[in-house]
Symmetry: C2
Subunit: 429 residues, 2 copies
C-alpha cells in the first residue's frame, strides 16, 4: 500500500505509559492491519532515566526532556501521560503549536483547561483525544460524542473512582474501618501513595466535569461542582445503611434541571436493588439518561494500566486516521458558555443524619420540634445504640431542600443535649 508511517511520541512512563509501550510491542501489527495504518512508536520521553533503561527500545528513541519531544518535527501524535496541570498543559500547547495531534489520559487537565486546549487544537485544525481520562478502558467519551448525539441527555450518574469504590466495598464486606480499607487498597495497588484526590472526591469530580460538559454540551466551571469525599464514612454508617436496605457509594451526579446544571460528588445511600449497588471493588459504572434512549449503562474496570492503555491506543488510532485524512477533525464538541448552575443547597434530597445525644427525657421532642419548625419531615428515626453514656440517634428525612435541612441541623446542634459533629449522607431513591 505504501502507506506513510504515522510517528507517535510518548510522554511519561508511569503505570499507563509503560503499558502503552507494551501494547505497541504486542498488538501493533494487529492494530495497523485492522486500521490500514502504519503506526510507529518513534520516541519516548521520561524524566527518570531508570525507567527508560528498562525499556526494550533503542537508546536513540529515548529522551529525558518532554519539551524536546513535543518539538521534534518527526512526531505526528503526542501521547501525554505525565498527568497534573503543569508541565502537561504547556507540553500539550507546545505539541499543538507544532502541528501534532494529542492523546491524553489527563482528567485534571481536560476537566479544568480542556476548553482552552480544544480551542487551540481547533484553530490549528488538529484535535485532542481523551477517552482514557474517564473510566479506564470503558468506552464513554466516544459514545457521548458520537452515539448519543441525537438525544437530549438529562442525567449522568456514576461510580467514577475505583479507589473509593474498592475502599467502600471492603468496608461493607469485611467490616473494615476506613483507614484499614485504605491500607488494603494500597497493598492491592488500587490506591496511590497520596490518595487524597481519590478519597476526597476530586478525581471523580474531574471525570464528572468532562462527561457533563459533553452530555449537556456546555462549558463547566470547576468552582460550581460540589465535592465531598468518603473520609467521614464509618462502618457504623454502612451498617445503618444496610438496615434500611441501602449501600453507600461515592456517586458523581450531573443533572440538567429546568433552572440549570447541578453537579456533585458525594457519598450516597442507594437501594441495594439499584444496579449501581452491585458495582463492587475497583469497578466503575455510569448511567447516562436521555429523553428518548432512556437509561444506558456502561460498566468495566475504571482504572489500571492495561485497560486504560487500550483507550489510549484507540485514541491514537483515531488521531492517526485523522492525520491520514480519513477523518477531518472540526465541528465537534461545540459547547455553550454562560451555563447556569443550581447549587447543591437548592437541590432536594432525603438525608441520613447520625448524631449523639444525652439519653434523657425530652431529647426526641426537642430535635423533632426543630425539624418540624423547619418543615423537615422525618421518614425514620432509629435509636438503639449507645456510645458511652450517650444515645446514638439516626434519622432519615423525606425529600427536603438541602438549605432547609442544613438550617435545621445547625439548630439541632445548638440544643444543649445534642453533641456536635453529626454525620450526614444523602440518599438517592
Amino acid at each position: 500500500m505504501g502507506k506513510q508511517a504515522v510517528k507517535v511520541g510518548l510522554l511519561g512512563l508511569g503505570t499507563i505509559g509503560s503499558r502503552v509501550v507494551e501494547l505497541f510491542e504486542s498488538n501493533l501489527d494487529m492494530i495497523n492491519e485492522k486500521n490500514d495504518l502504519q503506526l510507529v512508536l518513534e520516541r519516548v520521553a521520561e524524566r527518570d532515566p531508570e525507567k527508560l533503561k528498562s525499556l526494550k527500545i533503542p537508546a536513540e528513541k529515548m529522551l529525558t526532556s518532554a519539551f524536546e519531544l513535543v518539538k521534534d518535527p518527526n512526531i505526528d501524535i503526542v501521547i501525554e501521560l505525565i498527568g497534573g496541570l503543569e508541565p502537561a498543559r504547556s507540553l500539550i500547547r507546545e505539541a499543538l503549536e507544532n502541528g501534532k495531534y494529542v492523546v491524553t489520559a489527563n482528567k485534571d487537565l481536560i476537566a479544568t483547561h480542556g476548553d482552552e486546549l480544544l480551542e487551540l487544537a481547533r484553530s490549528r485544525n488538529l484535535n485532542i483525544y481523551y477517552e482514557a481520562s474517564v473510566g479506564g478502558g470503558i468506552p464513554l467519551i466516544r459514545p457521548l460524542k458520537h452515539s448519543l448525539v441525537a438525544d437530549r441527555l438529562n442525567r449522568v450518574v456514576g461510580i467514577l473512582n475505583g479507589t473509593t469504590n474498592y475502599i467502600l466495598t471492603r468496608m461493607s464486606c469485611e467490616g473494615l474501618e476506613f483507614n484499614a480499607a485504605l491500607a488494603q487498597a494500597r497493598e492491592k495497588g488500587f490506591a496511590e501513595a497520596d490518595p487524597s484526590s481519590d478519597i476526597e472526591g476530586r478525581d471523580a469530580s474531574y471525570k464528572l466535569m468532562i462527561m457533563a460538559g459533553l452530555a449537556f454540551g456546555c462549558s463547566i466551571d470547576p468552582a460550581q461542582v460540589y465535592v465531598e469525599g468518603i473520609t467521614g464514612i464509618t462502618v457504623g454508617d454502612i451498617n445503618y445503611a444496610r438496615e434500611i436496605g441501602c449501600v453507600i457509594k461515592l456517586l458523581a451526579i450531573g443533572e440538567k434541571l429546568p433552572a440549570g446544571i447541578a453537579l456533585r460528588v458525594h457519598p450516597t445511600m442507594i437501594s441495594q436493588n439499584h444496579p449501581l449497588a452491585s458495582v463492587n471493588n475497583e469497578f466503575n459504572a455510569v448511567f447516562i439518561e436521555g429523553e428518548l434512549v432512556g437509561e444506558v449503562m456502561f460498566y468495566g474496570r475504571g482504572a489500571g494500566g492495561a485497560p486504560t492503555s487500550t483507550a489510549v491506543m484507540a485514541d491514537v488510532v483515531e488521531a492517526a486516521r485523522c492525520k491520514e485524512g480519513y477523518v477531518v477533525c472540526n465541528g465537534v464538541e461545540k459547547k455553550t458558555t454562560g451555563t447556569l448552575y443550581v447549587p447543591v443547597e437548592d437541590l432536594s434530597s432525603s438525608f441520613y443524619l447520625r448524631f449523639l445525644a444525652e439519653d434523657r427525657p425530652g431529647v426526641l421532642a426537642a430535635f423533632s420540634k426543630v425539624f418540624g419548625d423547619n418543615q423537615v419531615s422525618l421518614d425514620m428515626v432509629i435509636q438503639k445504640r449507645r456510645v458511652g453514656d450517650l444515645a446514638e440517634i439516626v434519622l432519615v428525612t423525606h425529600l427536603v431542600r438541602e438549605a432547609a435541612f442544613r438550617t435545621a441541623v445547625d439548630q439541632v446542634m445548638n440544643l444543649e443535649m445534642i453533641r456536635p459533629n453529626p454525620s450526614t449522607i444523602r440518599l438517592m431513591i
Copy 2:
C-alpha cells in the same frame, strides 16, 4: 456558514420509522447545531398510504415506492427501516449504486448479507451504518469498531433479545407458563404478532453474528451458529434453576477459542450473582471481554422505537459528516475470511437434564451407569417431584463435552423405565 443541506430519504414507517420522523421534528435543530450540519428529511416512502396520511409532512415529500426514493438524485442518505431480506437488500444495493450513504436497523440483512453490501459500499467510497441493528439505543457497534480497536477481544456474551428476556422474567417473577408470559409480552408491546424469530432465538443470533464479526474481525457463516429458543422452557425448569441458585436467560455467546470461533444462542442457567442475572424485562446487556480491557458491559433498552430512533439518527449524523467530507469512509471493517468454527458438539458445558422415569428400584442405578460409562460425571441429582405415577428426575453434570453428553442422554432415553423428551439446559458458571 452557508452549509449545504444533506438530504435524507426514509424507507418504512413502522415502529422505528415513525419515531425517526418524530425525531426529525423535535430534535433536528439541536442535532444540526451540535454537529455543524444542515440535515433535512427530504422524502419518506411507505407502501401503506394510510401511514403516510398521519404524517405532518407535505404531500410532495411522500412516496409509496421505495425504489423511486432510492433513485432520487436529490437524496444523499437513505435510511432503510423496512426490515427483512427482500426488497431491503435490493433497495440498499440500488441506493449505493446511486451514490447514497445507507443507514439501517436491519439485523437480519446485515447479519446474512452485510459483508456483500459493505463491500459494495466500499467500492463506491460510501458506507453503511447499522448501530440500530443491535441493542436498540445502546451504543455497541461504534464502541466495537472504534473504542475497543486496540485489544484482542475473545468473548461476547449478552442478552440481546428483549422479547424473550421479558417472557423469561415474567415466568420467573410471576410463575406464568410460557404461553401466558408471551401473551403478556404481546399486550405490553414487547412481542410482535409473529414472535417466532424472537422466541426461537433467530433475532438474537443475527445480533450475535453482527457483533462477533466485528469483535473477532472475521466473516461469519450463518450456518455455523447454533440456535435454540426458549419455547421449551417451563416454570418447572425455572424453579429447579432457582433451587440451585440460578436464573434462566437466553444468552448469545460468541467465543474465540484456540480451535476457532464458537457461536451459539440458547437458554442458559447462570448464577443469580452473575451481573446478567439482574438484567430483567425488556432490557438488554452485553459483556465484551478483551485481553487487556477485561470485561466491559453495556446495558439499556435493547428495542423500542424511541431508543432505536436515536441510534438511527446518530448514524445519519455520521453518514452526513462523511458526505460533508469530515470523515472518509474506507479502511474500516476489514474482515478475514475462511473462519474456522468450533461446533457446539465440541464445546464443554455443565448440563441440566430433566426427565420422567418409572418410580421403581434400579432406575437410579441404570441411568447412573450409562452416564458413568460415557464419562459424564454428575454434580447433582434431585428426585422429589412426581408427575402422575412417574418420578421427575433432575440432574446437573460437571463440565462435559456436549457430544459425549448427548450420546449418554440418547442411551438413557433408550432405557425402558425412562420416558422420552427430556429437557436440557446448559449452565454457564
